[in-house]
């Protein structure tokens, strides 16, 4: 540790700390603009000057490391004059238009001008004129206000990895420019308006809408992906103005999906009142009538329940209570992406925290478009790569990561078992093995050398596997996951404290869902088939949109053609065409409730926004249904409900009692020992469908902002490797298990040969349901 004096007070800090950080840690106020704890040091604003005894001139504290015995002063007359001058330099070209600037009231420049600036400026020359830029749907610019701190540039380079902000020219002509006009290509672009210390980069959707002092802040959890970021929802009355990262949250950034989905809260797609179908259309009804209709449809019937995993823990548990109270034995499904329902050796959820993943010796991404799936985790990995730590990846597509992985290997989904077997062969050659590994290996015929990449990483002291959708949605997922489990155990990455087996979940609350629904869940595909085959009489859909999302859209539509639909949810969506009844449930911003993210971190929201309409928290809707279906109401308040949560998931016991940060762990199944399938593929192409953060999920599809971004980031409907296409891009006929269909096919080297990559799930016909296809007429 280094000891130094800040304003005569002795403090100790880690060696190498900058003076500015030492001051921040020890409560000595030093003004700054360009410094940002998450970005590299630029040292250009010169606002952070301090005096150091023995130095003949003031030093920029952000870029001067502490030294033993150093005597630092942060408050002197000379420094005050320096700060006054810095403010004067910064303001000579500034438009001074605080009254019309969104940043006003939350602006460093304004604050420091008051605190350190002179009462008037002396600049009497021409002012600089600069042009604004069109930076896409999320960021608006007013570049006359820019103070050239380059935070945005460093953000684009280091955090987003896109490098699409830059500095052009020099001297006082120097200007910040978006290199790619019209579209900031980062999924984190919304953070730019937060990171800009002044009103130069502003949030476009909320531009000219409100002032910082008008809004109320609600601490909440984003449920738009399993990351479950800590967010602050800023509202004026019941109107959501913005969503931002929670200041003291786990992550400094949130993604555009989680940030801009808020316009779905007020969209036409919201279900804000109960509705029933009358002569073809859905019309508003009273709660009593709508519940009555639902009961009529479901009472004494064989019901299939499909729900979204993104409800609060309390909401999800109430679904289970409904099932137990009045639909005993009903088919229940929630995962629209899992084909293989055998239990997994390691179930959904991460074994590690994102921090542990960032710090791990090795990270291997197995079959995941992580930038789209988990943009914030991807950002952590980018940070890791920038720090020189390895990240390897195996998968079917060269998914864009905006910072190249250290090692990369493209494989077809049918090769996964050969990849794992090859890795087993490698590690057992180095003396690492686990009971069952030889047998598993022996059951696989092929070997794929991409396994070397996996084996190399496994030989490290610590290794985080990030098992993604390509494996999770695989028809042989349980066997592949068991294979990976064997590998991890063989190499010592499965013991408590070192567990690196992370299975990325499809939605929120994965660990809780394993506990609450482990014994009753079935595959969504099977459930829809059952409905189509006359084994079910009615479908109860709770927040789920199997038509727009997931792998079973064909089956879902067939099922809904056959049986009536009762829809409970917050977003109506295209699927409402089928609904006989709609019951409004409150959005995640509107409930008091708990959420578990993929790491197992529990968050309790206590300060919800008020409801916009007649919607009720999901658990109340469920209790009402139980009551009207003639069951005994299991809980009349949140406390009673939470007692039920604990009954199903004992790990939640302290969730509402302790103020400590609580983590629950993902399930492990020692008995899930599955041999790799020996079934030969029947078609020439494997099919992978893309998850787009701007399209996936009912909430997101209801957001105009995200839809607009989705259009800007769109790919061709269906992509294959040029060699696979063997011919011109354009309309091609593909044969699937359910017949032939024509699709528009483009080509890209990024797709591994032998794979058909569906870039627009749900949009490009219903191909996503398939896992294998052939091109008709035209060899692959």
């Amino acid at each position: 540790m280094t000891a130094l004096y800040i304003n005569d007070e002795e403090v100790t800090v880690t060696p190498g700390t900058s003076i500015l950080e030492a001051c921040r840690e020890n409560g000595a106020e030093v003004p700054y603009f360009c410094y940002h704890p998450e970005l590299s040091v630029a040292a250009n604003c010169r606002m952070c000057l301090v005096e150091i005894e023995g130095w003949n001139k003031p030093a920029a504290s952000c870029c001067t490391p502490v030294a033993e015995g150093m005597k630092v002063r942060t408050q002197t007359e000379a420094l005050e004059k320096d700060r006054e001058m810095m403010m004067e330099y910064l303001l000579i070209h500034h438009p001074l238009d605080c009254p019309v600037c969104d940043q006003g009231g939350a602006c460093k420049l304004q604050d420091y001008a008051v605190e350190h600036g002179a009462s008037h400026g002396r600049y009497a020359e021409m002012k600089r004129a600069v042009v604004d830029h069109d930076l896409g749907p999320f960021v608006s610019t007013c570049m006359t206000r820019c103070i050239h701190c380059t935070r945005c540039v460093r953000f684009a380079d280091e955090v987003a990895g896109t490098g699409d902000m830059g500095v052009l020219d020099r001297g006082d002509h120097m200007r910040i420019d978006g290199i790619v006009e019209d579209c900031l290509s980062s999924e984190l672009s919304g953070n730019l308006s937060d990171i800009c210390p002044v009103g130069a980069l502003l949030d476009k959707p909320s531009h000219d809408v409100s002032r910082p002092w008008e809004v109320t802040r609600h601490k909440s959890t984003c449920t738009q992906c399993p990351q479950g970021c800590d967010i602050t929802i800023e509202s004026r009355g019941d109107e959501v103005i913005r969503i931002r990262p929670e200041k003291d949250g786990m992550e400094p950034w949130i993604c555009d999906r989680g940030r801009y989905v808020y316009d779905a809260f007020r969209s036409e797609q919201r279900i804000l009142e109960p509705k029933v179908r009358e002569s073809g259309g859905l019309v508003a009804a009273s709660w009593d009538d709508a519940i009555g209709r639902a009961v009529e449809l479901m009472k004494g019937k064989r019901v299939g329940i499909v729900f979204s995993p993104d409800w609060s823990v309390e909401g999800l548990t109430s679904i289970r209570l409904l099932n137990d109270a009045v639909f005993e034995g009903a088919k229940v499904a929630f995962d629209l992406h899992r084909r293989d329902m055998r239990s997994f050796a390691f179930e959904e959820g991460l074994a590690m925290t994102t921090q542990q993943i960032e710090d791990s010796g090795q990270v291997v991404i197995l079959g995941s478009d992580l930038r789209q799936r988990l943009p914030v985790l991807m950002q952590r990995l980018r940070k890791r790569i920038n720090a020189g730590k390895p990240v390897s990846r195996i998968g079917a597509m060269n998914y864009r990561t905006n910072t190249e992985p250290t090692k990369d290997s493209l494989i077809r989904p049918r090769d996964w078992s050969a990849v794992i077997a090859f890795a087993m062969q490698q590690v057992s050659g180095l003396g690492k093995t686990a009971a069952g590994m030889d047998a598993w290996m022996a059951g696989v015929e092929g070997r794929h050398e991409a396994g070397k990449l996996l084996a190399d990483a496994l030989m490290d002291d610590s290794c985080a596997l990030l098992v993604g959708e390509e494996i999770r949605s695989h028809e042989d997922a349980a066997a592949l996951i068991y294979g990976l489990d064997l590998l991890m155990r063989a190499c010592g990455h499965a013991e408590a404290g070192k567990d690196g087996r992370n299975l990325i979940s499809e939605g929120m609350n994965p660990q809780l869902l394993s506990s609450v629904f482990g014994d009753v869940r079935t595959s969504a595909g099977e459930l829809f088939d059952a409905a189509s085959n006359g084994e079910l009489d009615v479908l109860l859909l709770i927040g789920s949109d199997p038509q727009g999302d997931g792998l079973f859209s064909v089956q879902a539509k067939q099922a809904m053609d056959k049986v009536p639909l009762v829809q409970v949810g917050a977003i109506s969506g295209q699927i409402s065409e089928y609904a006989e009844v709609q019951l409004p449930a409150a959005a995640y911003s509107e409930v008091e409730g708990s959420f578990v993210n993929m790491e197992g971190r529990i968050r309790v929201a206590e300060n919800p926004l008020s409801s916009l309409g007649a919607e009720r928290p999901l658990w109340k809707v469920m209790m009402r249904l139980i009551q009207d279906m003639g069951g005994d109401i299991p809980a009349v308040n949140l406390d009673e409900l939470r007692a039920h949560v604990i009954r199903f998931a004992p790990q939640m016991e302290h969730a509402w009692r302790s103020s400590d940060e609580l983590m629950i762990t993902a399930a492990r199944n020692n008995t899930a020992t599955h041999a790799s399938s020996t079934k030969a593929p029947s078609r020439s192409l494997d099919l992978i469908s893309r998850y787009s953060m701007y399209r996936e999920g009912a909430w997101v599809r209801a957001s105009d902002l995200l839809s607009e971004a989705g259009c800007l980031h769109a790919l061709d409907d269906v992509l294959v490797h040029p060699n696979t296409l063997a011919g011109a891009e354009g309309e091609r006929v593909v044969r699937t298990s359910s017949g032939e269909q024509s699709v528009h096919v483009g080509s890209r080297e990024d797709v591994v040969p032998g794979v058909l990559f569906v870039a627009k799930r749900g949009v490009a016909g219903d191909l996503s349901s398939e896992s294998e296809v052939d091109f008709v007429g035209g060899a692959a």
């Binding site: 606002m47 810095m86 020099r170 001297g171």
Partner: protein
């Protein structure tokens, strides 16, 4: 050949500058070029070379006067990373034109110095970053390098030894700031020339994050003589702590402007009167810029100052690059300052607040004042805006930009005021 008796030496870098065709390898060799190189490569080692250079007292000729041997000794060894040697041939400081003559007339002297420095620092790749406008000089350098490669003086196993070094000329694109060593490094890496903050210093983390030595052309061109004749020989020339010869580029109101290589410690008066043929008008200069446009001005009272790093600091200025701009009584110092303000505003890289905004502000005020539209309050603005730039930025460009204005304000405030009065008279008579 340079005499081994320090008393008899008449020049070091410029000893052969007038020899016709000295730029060709054959002629240079006839005059002793590369003669001592085999001895250095075969009999010297890094420590010996660095010790000799330390003993020589050589201080950097690029502007800051930092002891060269000490700089070399800061380079960490065995880091597992390559060490780079970069020759700063950007020569952008207004008034400076000495490196240019070394390169166009005696390029092999620089090459030899770089091989020796490279050998001492275990450099595999060395670069000469040359000012973009020096097209002819770059061509001459490249031709000399080609000849040196052909003669096995560069490239693999130089002169049959284990030592190999490549030397590449890189042309800048006309930015003054790229003469600042860390901006030079950025530029050479292919990025905009914006200085880096220090620490880390280039010796530890420079070109591509590797240990890097940046030296001026004249500094490197002095090395062969030091190694051949010994550090003590060099230390015996000039005055203590300010040893050897120094090239002064003299311009302005003198009768014979040009480059003069004289021993350190020669007085300003001697240089101007005896070498440069005296002033064009009058007997004492009105003002002298002693070390390039970024140095503070000296007045007539300093006419006898010995030209050394230390004496010029004592006189309130600096030796800088040795570019002496002499102004006699006919000089319009307001116009001169305005022109320099324009230069710095144009050349500021723009990253630091005070330099970016300050240089432009100063230029605009100077424009106004020069054209007779100033007022008394401008004097305070000029002073404060200059004072709070200097010493508060990433690089020293801001100090350089402040120097002329502060000098003008200190020594010639009335010249400024008379401009204001002039305009008022004009307005009244109009």
């Amino acid at each position: 050949m340079i005499p081994s008796d320090p008393q008899k030496v008449t020049g070091i870098c410029f000893d052969h500058v007038d020899v016709p065709n000295q730029n060709s390898l054959a002629v240079a060799r006839k005059n002793g070029a590369y003669a001592f190189l085999p001895t250095v490569l075969k009999e010297f080692d890094a420590d010996k070379i660095i010790d000799e250079v330390k003993t020589s007292g050589l201080r950097g000729r690029g502007g800051a006067g930092f002891p060269t041997g000490l700089k070399w000794s800061f380079v960490p060894r065995n880091t597992g990373k390559p060490t780079y040697l970069l020759c700063n041939a950007d020569e952008g400081e207004p008034g400076t034109f000495k490196d240019r003559d070394i390169m166009r007339f005696d390029p092999h002297l620089l090459i030899e110095g770089m091989i020796m420095a490279g050998f001492a620092l275990d450099v595999k790749d060395a670069y000469i970053y040359i000012r973009g406008e020096f097209l002819h000089e770059a061509n001459v350098m490249n031709e000399a390098i080609r000849e040196a490669y052909a003669a096995n003086l560069l490239g693999e196993n130089i002169l049959g030894t284990d030592y190999s070094m490549d030397l590449t000329v890189h042309r800048g694109a006309g930015a003054y700031i790229c003469g600042e060593e860390t901006a030079l490094i950025e530029s050479l890496e292919g990025r905009p020339g914006r200085p880096r903050f220090k620490p880390p210093f280039p010796a530890v983390e420079g070109f591509y994050g590797c240990p890097t030595v940046v030296n001026n052309v004249e500094t490197l061109a002095t090395v062969p003589a030091i190694l051949e004749h010994g550090g003590a020989w060099h230390a015996a020339i000039g005055v203590p702590n300010n040893t050897g010869f120094k090239i002064f580029s003299v311009s302005g109101h003198v009768n014979k402007p040009g480059n003069y290589e004289v021993p350190m410690g020669t007085t300003m008066r001697t240089l101007i009167e005896d070498y440069c043929g005296g002033l064009q008008h009058g007997t004492v200069p009105k003002a002298i810029i002693p070390g390039g446009s970024s140095s503070a001005w000296l007045m007539a009272e300093h006419y006898d100052v010995p030209l050394t790093f230390d004496d010029l600091i004592k006189a309130g200025s600096m030796l800088g690059s040795g570019a002496i701009i002499v102004m006699d009584e006919t000089a319009d110092l307001v116009a001169l300052t305005r022109r320099l303000a324009h230069f710095y505003a144009h050349e500021s890289c723009g990253q630091c607040t005070p330099c970016r905004e300050g240089t432009g502000w100063l230029e605009r005020v100077m424009n106004r004042v020069e054209t007779g539209h100033g007022c008394e309050a401008d004097l305070k603005v000029l002073k404060e805006a200059s004072e709070h730039m200097a010493g508060r930025t990433i690089c020293a460009l801001a100090d350089g930009a402040a120097a002329p204005i502060l000098s003008l304000l200190e020594h010639f405030p009335d010249e400024l005021r008379s401009r204001m009065a002039q305009s008022h008279q004009e307005e009244q008579s109009a």
